[in-house]
């Protein structure tokens, strides 16, 4: 049998720590993907080198299935890696990382299939692949080209592992809730109730009027903070807007025509945060340029 869920995440952390990555923790504001963590969104901007890895619980309200779908989750756990600049052997490092959880690339069919990524709300776009193992997508592999509406240079490589599905695959488990988590418990023991409740909340119970107000207030607050030169808290506001929008959408409260407008509003705030962050780092002389993390240090 393969590793349990928590072992998988521990192995990945260990592997990437060995590659000189800063092991971060999940962000404590709701995010839809590991990319939204400030340690990705901000750090890929500007010239400073950066390596990080962390597990990122990612909330996707529309994907909630009341705990009844064996593969889809309202909240899943991405394992996120950023390598900036992307090293020339980044694919080989990635393939070695599979060994960390017991995959021998010689026994499997591992392929890199075109899959470009775009996040309209973050003004971000990248080019890359979905990594397929024996026909299953196990990771997203992206060379960021743009974030916060800004062209990037140097370019960061982002690797995102789908932790649940990799673990299910390793264990031949057909239902995510049957996955061994660790501590003698299953994924279902740990998370099922939460999935059911958040599905109810997102699809049936969330207060639309409240959410619409919250969206507006966080949007205004974000811009106000930026006016004061306060950047990271303003970005938290952008994240809250983004998540609020996602819940409103799951709740069926946003028409097709309104949708574009909401996305543009989040994007405007995120782009403004990105510009402000970059200006702030520049004013400080891009401090990490002098303190490059060393990939060799392990």
């Amino acid at each position: 049998m393969g590793l349990n869920f928590q072992e998988l995440i521990l192995r990945l952390q260990e592997f990437w720590a060995g590659q000189g990555a800063v092991i971060q923790q999940p962000y404590d504001v709701e995010v839809g993907a590991g990319t939204m963590h400030p340690d990705t969104f901000f750090r890929v901007l500007g010239p400073e080198p950066w390596r990080t890895a962390y597990c990122s619980p990612s909330r996707r309200p529309v994907d909630g299935r009341y705990g009844q779908n064996p593969f889809r989750l309202y909240r899943h756990y991405q394992f996120q890696v950023i390598l900036k600049p992307s090293p020339p052997d980044v694919q080989e490092i990635y393939l070695r990382s599979l060994g960390a959880f017991g995959i021998d690339p010689r026994e499997h069919d591992i392929r890199f299939e075109e899959d470009n990524w775009e996040s309209p709300t973050l003004g971000a776009a990248g080019v890359g692949w979905q990594v397929m193992m024996d026909g299953m997508e196990i990771s997203q592999f992206t060379y960021f080209q743009q974030a916060g509406g800004l062209e990037l240079s140097p370019i960061a490589a982002e690797i995102t592992y789908g932790s649940e599905r990799i673990c299910m695959f390793l264990n031949g488990v057909d239902n995510v809730y049957d996955l061994a988590w660790g501590g003698g418990l299953t994924y279902g023991d740990v998370r099922l109730e939460e999935e059911i409740e958040f599905s109810r909340h997102n699809f049936e119970a969330a207060d639309v009027v409240l959410l619409e107000r919250v969206f507006q207030q966080y949007e205004a607050e974000g811009h106000r903070l930026l006016g004061l030169g306060i950047v990271t808290p303003a970005y938290d506001c952008a994240l809250r807007c983004s998540h609020t929008f996602n819940v409103l959408e799951a709740r069926g409260a946003i028409s097709v025509t309104e949708r574009t407008g909401y996305i543009q509003r989040v994007r405007r705030l995120a782009v403004a945060c990105a510009k402000a962050y970059l200006a702030q780092r520049e004013a400080k002389g891009f401090p990490l340029l002098r303190r490059a993390p060393s990939p060799a240090a392990s």
């Binding site: 090293p87 069919d109 080019v127 299953m136 140097p154 370019i155 031949g172 097709v256």
Partner: protein, 718 residues
Amino acid sequence: MSGAGRHQVLLEIGTEEIPARMVQAAVEELGRTLVEVLSKAGLGSASPRLFATPRRLAVLLDGVASRQADQETEISGPPVAAAYDAQGKPTRAAEGFARAQGVAVSDLKRVRTPKGECVGLRRTIAGRSAVQVLADAIPVVVGGLYFPKTMRWGSGEHRFVRPVHSVVALFDGEVVGTRFAGVASGRATFGHRVAGRERIELALARDYPEALRANGVLADAVERRAEIARQLAAAARAAGGAIATPPGTTPSGADADPELLDEVTEMVEWPLVITGEFDVRFLELPAEILLTSMRHHQKYFALRAPDGTLLNRFLSVANVAQDPKGAIRRGNEWVLKARLADARFFFDEDRKHTLGSLGDALDRVAFHEKLGSYADKRRRVETLAGPLLQAFAASGVRPDADAVRVAAGVAKNDLVTHVVKEFPELQGIVGGLYARADGLPAAVADALYDQYLPRSQDDALPRTAEGAVLSLADRLDTQAGIFLLGIVPTGSRDPYGIRRSVQGACRILIERRVSLSLQGICGAALRGYSGRLPEQAVSEESARAALLEFWTGRQEFLAIEAGLRPESVRAALGAGPDDPYDARRRMEAVDAFRDEAGFADLASAHKRIKNILQGQEAGTPFETARLSDEAERRLAKRVDSVRAGLEGALAAREYARALAAIATLREPLDRFFTEVMVMAEDRAVRANRLALLREIATLITQVADVSLIAPARPGKEA
């Protein structure tokens, strides 16, 4: 030395995985441009051998010369008069020229130029070696390759389709020293990620294919495709079935799914077909949904038993040499189980509602951000079905009008089903499946199932007349909306697939033999948007003109594709493009008839008539009584009999017979032009003769503007 040589050149760009859809076009362009560079440089014009895998684009050229021939050139300076003074001494102009050329003034010779006699010199420019030419050309050629999307990586300085890792550039055994994307050229390539060596030194350019083969890379895509097809056929046979053609795709020759075969060919360096199995209980799902689940996400080939039913087996193409422990097969089976469970979940969820009950949701589904929702589209399509049904009935095709109305009312309901959201390529098909399951009449279900046919130029048409009406109404509505937004598709920009839409509609009309007026039906389609299009960019009238012109262009394209000669097509369209079926019949008649003896003379005569009539205002109809000459009386008589004969032929659309009748005008026309002066001095006589010619032109152009096929050089009568 120039022309063909005896040397080989290899260029290989080693990259990270290039998107499958871009590989083939890129390597073809690479081969073409390299050959161009060499032949322009006078270094030979060999045909290239192309190699392409996800990780490499390579070209091997044979017959390359080693060096360009030396070239003699003449360089001219100032005119002799300005170069020497009265005493015959060199002037400063001559000295300056000599200095600039690095020779002594005494070395200057006199040369003839178009500007007169000048001083000048003869110089030999040494030919460059092929290695030098290639070293300069490679970065330009590779950097100039077109990719639909490119990227930067690492430091961000370079741009290509994916990061570049190696450049192999060899002239026989010599490295062509060059650089691309920050990578210096060399002789080392690399093998398959797991089945080959990481570094393969090539002694000679021509060693390339075999060196790669020994390292787990079948670099020739044509060979790789054939190998996959061979393995697929063998595996299908072993499983007791044959490869199935998925819905929405078109088989080609021996390939049941050529598109998928092309795609997987560009995704592997060494193919291994693996046969997997899935639980027979999934076979309860409609075959269309099963097939699409396998193909859409997994790129698997599904198998059919000889009786047409699906087998619980699939074929997957892996990028490996072997699967010794069966891990790849087991993995693929596990993944497919998850996919099919998902598909079954979607299907079961969908079947909790009838298709008809899903229609309320359509006002929240955007058809196009500026053209409103699918509920709006439904209203327009329902209305447009009316005149289409009439046109079908008038053409002797009698669709079940009730079935068409029911189908138009629920046609887009499947857009809100889970299955279509997951597999957009199943739109229409799912509607048809669910309609049948709901017990709706077969005519309705089939019309829904086929409403997007034909999807491509070679695709099948809707099987039933009801499906044809629905497909036409849907297409015309979309075309009208897009043209009202002022969007006219061009060769390079057609975001809404309007070309394909018009061509499909045109094929339906022609192959169903339905005659209608495009003016009328496009007008009806445009009126569907009247007063409901806040962002309308052009008037209904100009949208109609643009749309009709676009239809004419597509009619021409389709007819030429069908093998009709361009002039025949234009001649028939020149006489009226408003009814595509009728126009096609006329094109065919012209194309068949134009090789008959005397046709060229008829065409020339028509051209002559048109020239004479040009600028002449239409007058009263001609009167037989006013005809004086024998030749014109004979012609008028013939016109009468042709007109009588034409009526029946035109009504029956027997345009070949009509043309034969018209052709009998040739001889009396010939005589008319020889013996009769059209532009007579007597105004009344002149007007009457012009009227006679106008009558003839009208007769001819009921079939085609044959003057467009007149020989380019003047005919003997002209």
